[in-house]
Assembly symmetry: C2
Homo-oligomer: 429 residues x 2
């Protein structure tokens, strides 16, 4: 029997409330096979940490902190990074192999979306070409639910989505209590949701009110509507109900927002001069409301992807399990796969954990099923509700508090020793 | 012994997560004295409901719904209204007396802030002048904590404040997890807090981090700083820490926001063309950050005053008790008072419920103690933390969920019969 080899786990892209539940799943999974896995390292701040040889030692962390990972949102624990490995950044890829070789890394678990699965696939190929024995397994994650194929065959839903869906269900419920109770001051409340290309997040607002009792409009980026269409719909509902809640995608086309671009040429939506919510509020107030008072807006922004008490218990459990599954795949099937969550047929919600080839995920693209958008383009169908409802779970998660504050995991800064000369990632030069 | 007389309870102004806990306190209080209080009505949508003779019968509601009031935020249950009774709206005042007389109302409990206590006082005076026996008692409420005097002698804190303080403590904690974990994309997160004139709400962000470990700046409207000062401070902290969280008051002076005015001439801040958060984000991105990446912003807006799971258990309990206290005052002391919460001296948090004359509250004005603003104008003092910390409580409130959604009180539309001709409130004509 060959000796145990070390592990690197890294996260990529935007945070979720359950990202660290998957991390804990990977750690617990590896510990269940002590003969196979040696030291478990985290790439500190994602793949950039691997490039910089900043490997956080997870095996040496206090047990309590590792347990608390499950109820710690976002990526304060080991960090994530939007550093993107482009195919042409060959030096970066070679550096990863070099770092892995220096630290006897035999297993690489990469948590992220489509792009990350592509990166994982490329790392696996290069390792093989360079003669490094490396098992690479992906762990899915994204609040947008945009990983996989449109028919939900590669994955039913991504960890992270159920929690942001729950965020919107409960947030809209609360907002409706104010909107219903306050007379004329603010008859219209516009709320901006994330997911700039794909409508799963704003769609989840429907979970606040599956019986359609609220005066709620949901405008996906995919709706095909204009600002003028929105104003007509808002005023129509104001005439009938006297008030209106409008949940709108940050990707709804409202014209120029004064987007900025980052150093990689990606649009930085968060840093736009204007927001969709603000454009819509101003437009509604300018054209005039069919009710006394004015429109106002809320923009929860990043809160929807790092709010811990709104995490779904189902999502937390699945994120953990899919992390463990990735380890099991590595042990039993070898590399080249992403762990996945598939829904069993039948009226009761039930999932099984399985594997899909990384390459297949990397080359797939999901969109919001067009048939799930309602005929008026301002709602989603009951079929969507049947799909999404089980993902938000039933109860509140148990988030520990100490002295009135949330007690999040605090990992100690224990790093693997540097064995290689310093390296500046290509895109940072 | 004289026969029981009926009750009107009404709410005024902005909602809070605990407003209905006070309502339940009044209802439970009245029920404890069946010989004294008859039917309990709510002014539907506040004082405007009284003017329109829309009196919701609370005595006839299902027990379950009345119990659920305690965990129902905002004012969907009986409504609140920003309808303001100006001193010169004499007709409105006369109408209130007329409605009260028609329904044999002997007790009026009014839940609100300074202005509402002034209204309550005027109603009491007019009732006396018109020969209507009416006991008027105020119930304090406002998230801004701006009721009372600067020395906390009239009231230590208002119900509602502890919950929005907890909202900011936990929200900033969550935001810090993302800010700490994500490298360069968004090194600065600006979060806009309510309370446009008085800094208690943004100040509560400090409760996220009393030990001052986070790179957190808190900019009150009272700070006396400019946008340029803010940018300097942000860049200074970026140089030292590489990231920054900035909580800023919606009243921080940033120049013209394109405010709208409502029909009463009040500025509608929620409907401004621009928000402080957006102005600050754009300014920071324009002058440039001392770190790679850009600034982005979150604007939770009304969520901070209607988010139920962030309600403080201490606030919920106190809101309920102060509602009951108002009833006890009505029975034992008569009218002309506001029920109040006073803090007992000593190191352990402890309050007593007492009474203060309505007139005294109406003519008082609280401001954020200048000595509680730190020397650098971008933080608050430990003295503030000692004041505010007990108000956020220790644990999560128990918010019932059914089918994954929050189960809020749903009162039945049971109204007192109309006994008077219809009436259009003066400011609505």
């Amino acid at each position: 029997m060959s000796k145990a080899r070390n592990v690197v786990v890294a996260q990529s892209g935007g945070p979720t409330p359950v990202i660290n539940a998957s991390l804990r799943g990977v750690v617990d999974g590896c510990r269940a096979y002590p003969g196979i896995f040696g030291t478990i390292y985290a790439g500190y701040h994602g793949i950039e940490g691997v490039l910089k040889e900043e490997l956080l030692d997870l095996s040496a962390q206090p047990e309590e902190e590792l347990c608390l990972l499950s109820t710690t949102p976002a990526a304060g624990a080991i960090g994530t990074c939007r550093y993107k490995l482009q195919a042409q950044q060959q030096e970066d890829f070679e550096r990863i192999i070099e770092v892995f070789r220096a630290h006897d890394i035999g297993y690489f678990f990469y948590n992220g979306g489509n792009d990350s699965m592509d990166t994982a696939h490329k790392v696996a190929e290069l390792a093989a070409a360079r003669g490094l024995e490396l098992v690479v397994v992906g762990v899915p994650k994204t609040i947008d639910n945009d990983v996989g194929d449109p028919e939900f065959r590669l994955i039913d839903h991504t960890p992270g989505y159920g929690s942001v869906a729950r965020y919107w269900a409960l947030t809209v419920q609360n907002a409706n209590e104010e909107n219903a109770g306050s007379c004329p001051a603010d008859p219209v409340l516009v709320m901006q949701a994330m997911g700039r290309k794909i409508g799963f997040i704003p769609a989840a607002a429907r979970l606040a009110d599956p019986g359609r009792e609220m005066p709620l409009l949901i405008a996906l980026a995919e709706s095909g509507l204009t600002l003028a269409d929105l104003a007509d719909a808002v005023n129509d509902i104001l005439r009938r109900r006297g008030r209106c809640l409008l949940v709108i995608s940050e990707g709804f086309p409202v014209g120029d927002l004064g987007e900025r671009r980052d150093s990689f040429g990606h649009t930085e939506f968060g840093a736009s001069a204007l927001t969709v919510e603000r454009v819509v509020v101003n437009y509604l107030n300018r054209v005039g409301l069919a009710a006394q008072g004015s429109a106002r807006g809320n923009m929860p922004g990043t809160d929807q992807r790092h709010n811990m008490i709104y995490a779904s218990t189902v999502d937390l459990e699945e994120a953990y399990r899919v992390g463990q599954k990735a380890v099991q795949i590595a042990v039993k099937e070898g590399g080249g796969y992403m762990a996945t969550i598939l829904r069993e047929p039948g009226p009761l919600y039930n999932v099984r954990y399985d594997k899909v080839p990384l390459e297949q995920v990397a080359n797939s693209e999901r969109r919001f099923p067009p048939t799930w958008i309602a005929a008026d383009r301002l709602d989603v169908s009951d079929e969507f509700v049947r799909y999404a409802r089980p993902l938000i779970g039933e109860g509140w998660p148990a988030i520990p508090l100490i002295d009135g504050r949330q007690r999040f995991a605090r990992l100690r800064p224990l790093f693997a020793g540097q064995k290689l000369p310093p390296y500046v990632p290509q895109a940072r030069r």
